[in-house]
Symmetry: C2
Subunit: 149 residues, 2 copies
């Protein structure tokens, strides 16, 4: 199956200009064209673009992704390097997930804080609660946010 740039853009929910940009940056080394110069996207290009999206989501930049594409072009001799690359991405992702969980903890605390303030009609109620008055699961996170010199 083949696709025009507009069709592929829709499949991936990106702008055609983004796909042209990726092509220009060398991220699509197997791109084919019609005689008249129009890009022909194949299912294999879809797969590459899915991986590009994945790598972008792990925090890699276009330049770094291009280096990965260069590894792909080296064939089987770069299998080790590519495995290492994905293991590193996995490690980065784990950090990102831990960070996001911390953010979620803080947001949950703030939801509790404003729910409590709403019931009381004033933020001074949650503000002045002692540690012993807090729900148990809110104590650790409040301590993290607050600084008492």
């Amino acid at each position: 199956m083949t696709y025009t740039i507009g069709e592929m853009a829709k499949l991936l929910d990106v702008a055609p200009s983004a796909l042209r940009y990726y092509d220009k940056e060398g991220l699509l080394p197997f791109m084919e064209r019609t005689e008249s110069g129009i890009r022909i996207f194949k299912d294999s290009d879809y797969e590459i673009l899915k991986i590009i999206h994945c790598l972008k989501s792990t925090g890699m930049q276009i330049k770094e992704i291009k280096e990965f594409i260069n590894l792909v072009l080296q064939g089987d001799e770069s299998i080790d390097a590519r495995l290492e690359l994905f293991r590193k991405r996995k490690f980065e992702l784990e950090k990102q997930m831990a960070d996001l969980q911390e953010t979620m903890d803080t947001v949950n605390y703030k939801c509790w804080y404003y729910e409590t303030a709403k019931k009381a009609g004033t933020t001074s109620v949650p503000d002045n609660m002692g540690d012993d008055e807090l729900p148990e699961n809110m104590r650790k996170i409040r301590a993290k946010i607050r600084k008492q010199g």
Copy 2:
């Protein structure tokens, strides 16, 4: 307890220039200064900066965070609006976590893929595996990445 801009920057692991930028953008409405004009950061500023960091992590931009600060300045009458804001951030975070999990699934698939390729010495081994030869937990994700027209 009070801090200079450099001390606060170290506590938060950001550059002093970033704190000046936040101040200029109106994110630190309770900033005090010495007579000679030097910023005095208090523990309450630390807390605000922690919340700014949290909101940034949920994907909010500085402009939007400033609107939140404006709500804070309105006092108790904006409790509802602030609660709604944090509930929305929680919703956004849940989407982000789901996206990150999808990315992790793809990275895990690629780790398996290159481990298999490494053992075989060639990527054509995992490439040509039928669905029935894949580890069970890799099937769904490979189907998601692949497109067969």
